[in-house]
Amino acid sequence: MFLRLVTDSFGRRPRRKLLTGAALALGMAVATAALSVALDVGDRLAKEFRSLGANLLVTPQADSLPLEIGGVDYRPVNAGAYLPEADLGKLKTIFWHNNIMGFSPMLEVPVVASAAHDHVPIETPGNFTLIGTWSDKNVLIPDGTTYRTGIAKTNPWWNVDGKWFGDSHQCVLGSAFARRFGLHTGDRLNVMSRTSEGHAVGLSLAIVGVLSTGGPEDNGIVASLGTAQALAEKPGQYRRLYVSALTKPEDAFAKRDPKTFTPKEYDTWFCTPYISSIAFQIQQELPGTDVRVIRRVAEGEGQILTRVQMLLWLVTGMALLAAALAVGASSAASVIERRTEIGLMKALGAGSATVGFLLAAEQLLLAFVGGGTGYALGIILARLLGEKIFGVAPEPTLLVFLVVIGLAAVVTLLGSAIPLRRASLYDPAPILRGE
C-alpha cells in the first residue's frame, strides 16, 4: 500500500513532479559543476603555473660562490664544483616523481666566437657565454624507462625561431647576438674556450635557430650540454639544475622546520607535495647538492593559488547555498500544495508519522532521481567548463556524487520538513473544508 501510494503520487501528477524534479536536477547540476571545478582547480592551476618555469634550483654543495648576474654564471671554467649528469635519472625515482614536470641541467662556458655567413667570415668580437643544456632529451631512469624533458619544460618562455639544437655541432643564437652581427639560421659559428690548463678548445657549430628569452641568454649562445662539456673539458658534468615541480601551496604546517616534526608529522610532510618536501627528496637522491626553492616563483604561485582557491570556494559555497535554497523552496511548495491530501489521509486514520514518512519517502525518491540526473548534467557542464578553460575535463569523482546526492536529500527533506510540521499540527477537518 505504501509503495502504491508513492507510485500513485508520481503517476497522478507527473507534470508537477517533473517540475520539482527539474528544479532539483538543475540546482544539483550547478552544484556538481561548481564543486567539480573547485576541487579540480588547484591541480589544474598548479599545472598552469608551471609556465613560469622551474621552481627549484640544484647546485653543488661544495661550490665556490657563483658570480651570477641575470641568471648567467660568469665564473671561469676551472672555478667551483660540478655535478654528474648521469645521476639525473634518479630524479624520477623520488616519492613525488610524478610531480616532477621537467628538469634541465646547465653548464656555462665563457667563449670567444667568430662566424661565417656563406663561407664569408664575420668578426664577432667580445666575450660571450655559451650555455649548454638539454633541448629535448630522453633521460634514462634507473627503473629502465626513459623520460623526455628539457629546456622547453623548465623555461617555457624561451622562444626559438627555427629549431632547437640537436645533440652536437648545432646551436641556437641569442636574438640580440644574431641581430648585432647579422647572423641567421644556416650560418656557422666557431666558438673557442680556454680551459684550466690554458689550452683552447674550438668547435664549429651550425646555427639552427634564433632564441629570444628576454633575458641575458639573448646575448649568448645556447647549445647542447655535450657541446658545453666538450668546450669546458668537463665530460658528463653540469653546474646547475633547474627543476619544475607540481607543488601544493605551503601552509603554516609546511613552513615549520622539518627537524621539529614528530615521526607522524614527518610522514605527513614527506607524503605531501610541498615544495620543501620535494626539495628534501631531491637532495636525498642527488647527494652533495644544495636544493633551493626559487622563492620568486614558488611563493608567488602559492600566494596566488591560495587566493584563487579561496575565491572559488567562496563562490562555490554561494552556488551550493543558492542551489539548496532553490531546491528547498520548490520542495516546500510541493508539500504545501498537498495539504488537502494530507488532511484526507489523516481523516482516514493515518498518524502524523505515517504521513510524514510517506511524504519523506516521496521526496527522497525525487531527491535521488533529481540529484542523479543533476549530477549527470553537472558532469557534462563541468566537462564543458574544464575543457573551455583548461583544455582538460575534470575527472568525475565519487566524492562529488556523494556530496550532491546527500545535499539533494538533506535539502529536500529540510525544505519539506517545515511545511510538513505545520501540516501535521492542523486538524484534518478545516483543511478538508478548504479553510
Binding site: V30, V37, P66, G214, N219, G300, L311, A322
Partner: protein, 386 residues
C-alpha cells in the same frame, strides 16, 4: 472620462497596496528571496570586476616584470651603464610602478673570520626589494637602514661563516670599504650569492657616479597594459633597452586568462542559479494567488488588467528587494574582498543598478505562471478544481 481614468488608476494602486500589505509574512518571504538574490548578484558582480583588477596586483608577488638596460650592451657583464636620472624620470611619469635601480660590480668580499671571496656586489636603494620582490625573505626586516649597512645573500653569508651583525670588507679594484652586514636575504636565486650595499656607496666604490646597470620595474596591470607601459618607456628612453621579463609577463598572462575565465564561468553559473532560486520562490508565491485571480475575473476584471496588476506588483517587489539586496551586497562584497584579498573590494557603482534591474526582470518573469492562471475559468477555481 478623465474621472474614470483617474478612478481606475486610484483603484489600481489601491489594489496593489492591498496585495502587498495583505499578507505580511508572504511579503517578507518574497522580499527576502529577491533581496538575497540581488545581494548575491551585486556582491559577485563586484567581486568579478574587482578580483580581476586585484589579481594583476597579486601577480606582482612574482617580482619585477620590466627591465631597462643600456641599449648597446651585448657583453652581458653589465659593464655598460645607464644614467641614474632615468629612475627619476620614470617616477615622474606616474606609471604606478615600483622602480628599483641597480648597479652590479664584481668585487672581493672578506670578513675577519674568512678569506677573500670573489662576489657580485650590488648597489641598490635600501628598501628596493620590499616592494619589488615581496616573496624574498629578508631577515631581520629593519625599519631604517644606515648608509654603511649592507645586506648579504644567504649562501654568501654561510660562506663567510657569520651570524648576526658583522663587519664585511668589500674591495673593488683599488677601492675598499667596510660595511656592517645586518640583514640576510634568501631568494633561491642568484641573489643568495650577492652582497647588497647602498647605491651611492656602490657608485663611488666603482667610480661610476650617477651610473646604474639596470632598472627593474614592477608594473601592475594586465599584459596589454604592461605592454603599453613598455612602449611608453621605450619612446621616452630611445637609447635604453626596455623589455618585459618574459618568464613572468608571459606566464602571468596565461594564468590570468585561465583564472579570469574560471571566475567568469563560475560567477555566471551562480548568477543563473540565483535567478532560478528566486524564480522558484516567487513562482511558488504566485501560484497561491489563483483565488485572487479567480475573484477578480469573476467580478469582471479583464485578463490583461489582472495580469498587469500582478506584473506591477512583481516589479515593485523586485525594485524594493533589489534595493535592499544591493545595499546588503555592498557589505557582502566588502566582506568577500577582505576574506580573499585582505583588502575590501572597492564598490563599483555600475554594479548596483545592474543588480536592481536584474532583480526586477527576474521578479517579472517569476510572475509569468500567472498567465496560465488567467486562462482558467473563475468558476472552476472557486469549485477547487484547478
Amino acid at each position: 472620462m478623465t474621472d474614470l481614468v483617474a478612478t481606475n488608476r486610484a483603484m489600481f494602486w489601491r489594489i496593489i497596496r492591498r496585495l502587498l500589505s495583505a499578507n505580511r509574512g508572504r511579503l517578507f518571504v518574497m522580499l527576502l528571496a529577491l533581496g538575497a538574490g540581488a545581494a548575491v548578484t551585486a556582491a559577485l558582480l563586484n567581486l568579478q570586476v574587482d578580483a580581476k583588477r586585484r589579481l594583476t596586483t597579486e601577480f606582482r608577488a612574482f617580482g619585477p616584470n620590466v627591465l631597462i638596460t643600456s641599449g648597446n650592451t651585448l657583453d652581458s657583464s653589465h659593464s655598460v651603464t645607464l644614467s641614474q636620472d632615468i629612475e627619476k624620470v620614470i617616477l615622474q611619469m606616474g606609471l604606478g610602478a615600483h622602480v628599483g635601480p641597480f648597479l652590479y660590480i664584481y668585487g672581493d668580499i672578506s670578513s675577519d673570520s674568512s678569506s677573500r671571496v670573489p662576489a657580485v656586489v650590488v648597489g641598490m636603494l635600501p628598501f628596493s626589494f620590499d616592494a619589488l620582490e615581496p616573496s624574498w625573505k629578508i631577515e631581520p626586516r629593519l625599519a631604517k637602514v644606515r648608509r654603511g649597512d649592507c645586506m648579504v645573500g644567504a649562501v654568501l653569508a654561510s660562506r663567510l661563516h657569520f651570524v648576526g651583525e658583522r663587519v664585511v670588507h668589500v674591495s673593488v679594484g683599488s677601492n675598499e670599504l667596510d660595511c656592517t652586514a645586518n640583514r640576510t636575504l634568501s631568494s633561491g636565486g642568484e641573489e643568495d650569492n650577492q652582497i647588497f650595499i647602498d647605491l651611492s656607496v656602490a657608485q663611488s666604490l666603482a667610480a661610476l657616479p650617477n651610473r646604474i646597470s639596470l632598472i627593474q620595474l614592477s608594473v601592475p596591470g594586465t599584459l596589454p597594459q604592461v605592454s603599453d607601459s613598455i612602449t611608453t618607456l621605450q619612446k621616452r628612453f630611445p637609447d635604453a633597452d626596455v623589455r618585459p621579463i618574459r618568464q613572468f609577463s608571459e606566464g602571468e598572462a596565461k594564468i590570468y586568462n585561465k583564472i579570469s575565465g574560471l571566475l567568469t564561468a563560475t560567477v555566471g553559473i551562480v548568477l543563473l542559479l540565483t535567478a532560478l532560486c528566486v524564480m522558484a520562490a516567487m513562482t511558488n508565491v504566485a501560484m497561491e494567488r489563483k483565488m485572487d485571480v479567480g475573484l477578480m475575473k469573476a467580478i469582471g476584471g479583464a485578463t490583461r488588467r489582472v495580469l498587469r496588476l500582478f506584473l506591477v506588483e512583481a516589479a515593485l517587489l523586485g525594485f524594493a528587494g533589489g534595493l535592499i539586496g544591493a545595499a546588503a551586497g555592498i557589505f557582502l562584497s566588502i566582506g568577500l574582498g577582505k576574506a580573499v584579498f585582505g583588502v575590501a573590494a572597492r564598490p563599483r557603482l555600475i554594479v548596483y543598478p545592474v543588480a536592481v534591474a536584474l532583480t526586477i526582470v527576474v521578479a517579472i518573469f517569476s510572475a509569468f505562471p500567472l498567465r496560465r492562471l488567467a486562462t482558467i475559468r473563475p468558476a472552476s477555481v472557486f469549485r477547487g478544481e484547478a
